[in-house]
Subunit: 158 residues, 2 copies
DNA sequence: TTACAGGTTGGAGCGCACTCCAGGTCAAGC
DNA sequence: GCTTGACCTGGAGTGCGCTCCAACCTGTAA
């Protein structure tokens, strides 16, 4: 398997594959007689896991760290597990934030629908600044000023 | 409220606040006699929502788009709602990916624990490359070569 | 044998999202 | 009056994560 094939199978560009190799995310592959990289199918498993780490918010430097540990074989099992456990915590925190955002969006979309329908909506119901449980401190539900008629009155982003 | 106070309350740096203003994420605030920015508390609601959009994966250019719509008042309600609905889809997709990653991590962490305990584990149970439902096509569970004794045999990342 | 697709290297360039800095202004307190 | 600290502007610099490029090499097929 040459780099072009791997690019196709992995979804990464050849440039990216070489870049990942350069920064140590991918192990240096064997070369054929002409000096071209030759890959084993198994590299796809690793690339896939790397992609998953990336898409769930692990940056390059952490992935580099993990990749370096990986090259050390069984001696690094514990260290790798620790990194994975840490990442697990991060992922589950991110999920909580996303869950909350879904609620915020749903409420906001609903508010917009009502406003589009011409209903007068109390801006106190606007959720754009709410924190985990209710509105942040120091903010009143109503803005009270600039309620000078159509246009800005009851805008969900005021 | 001056920019320093807002920085403290919002958690953004004064540089970032000015930067956000420059690129249109934040409306141009009033100035005092000395030319210094003066903010209304209500800006915090907007900053908070922007932060939420950002932390749930909306990039600057989309946020700029949204912010620009916001300046157009009621006329842009529908367009804004459309953007929010689109973002909602993205967020819920991201959540699905995170959920899946949690499973992958849990299985992998478990595998590591077993290996640390010295158990011989069949690499077929390794999940690092699995797709939505099972292992990707074209990959055997076992690698078969380089099983030359301790160290690389049954490594979860081979 | 010559065209051509696909590979090699090193290094430059880019878009995002800030972050920092120089050199200046302004207002309050001593 | 003078210092101090917060603020101002424009612009340069940074780190991440690629992406592109020039110049060259290799193997195959017409």
């Amino acid at each position: 398997m040459r780099i072009g094939d791997l690019a196709e199978k992995s979804g990464l560009s050849t440039d990216t594959l070489r870049y990942y190799e350069k920064i140590g995310l991918l192990p240096k592959p064997l070369r054929d007689a002409g000096g071209r990289r030759v890959y084993d199918e198994t590299i796809l498993r690793w690339i896939d896991f790397l992609a998953r780490l990336k898409s769930t918010g692990m940056g390059i430097s952490k992935r580099q760290q993990y990749a370096e540990l990986r090259t050390k074989g069984a001696a690094s099992l514990k260290a790798r597990r620790t990194m994975l456990e840490e990442h697990r915590r991060k992922v589950s925190e991110d999920m909580a934030a996303l869950t909350e955002m879904l609620t915020v969006l749903d409420e906001k979309i609903d508010l917009y629908k009502k406003m589009e329908a011409g209903e007068t909506v109390d801006p106190a119901f606007d959720n754009c600044a709410r924190t985990e449980h209710g509105a942040p401190p120091g903010l009143k539900g109503r803005t009270d000023d600039n309620r000078t008629g159509e246009g800005s009155h009851a805008d969900p982003e005021t």
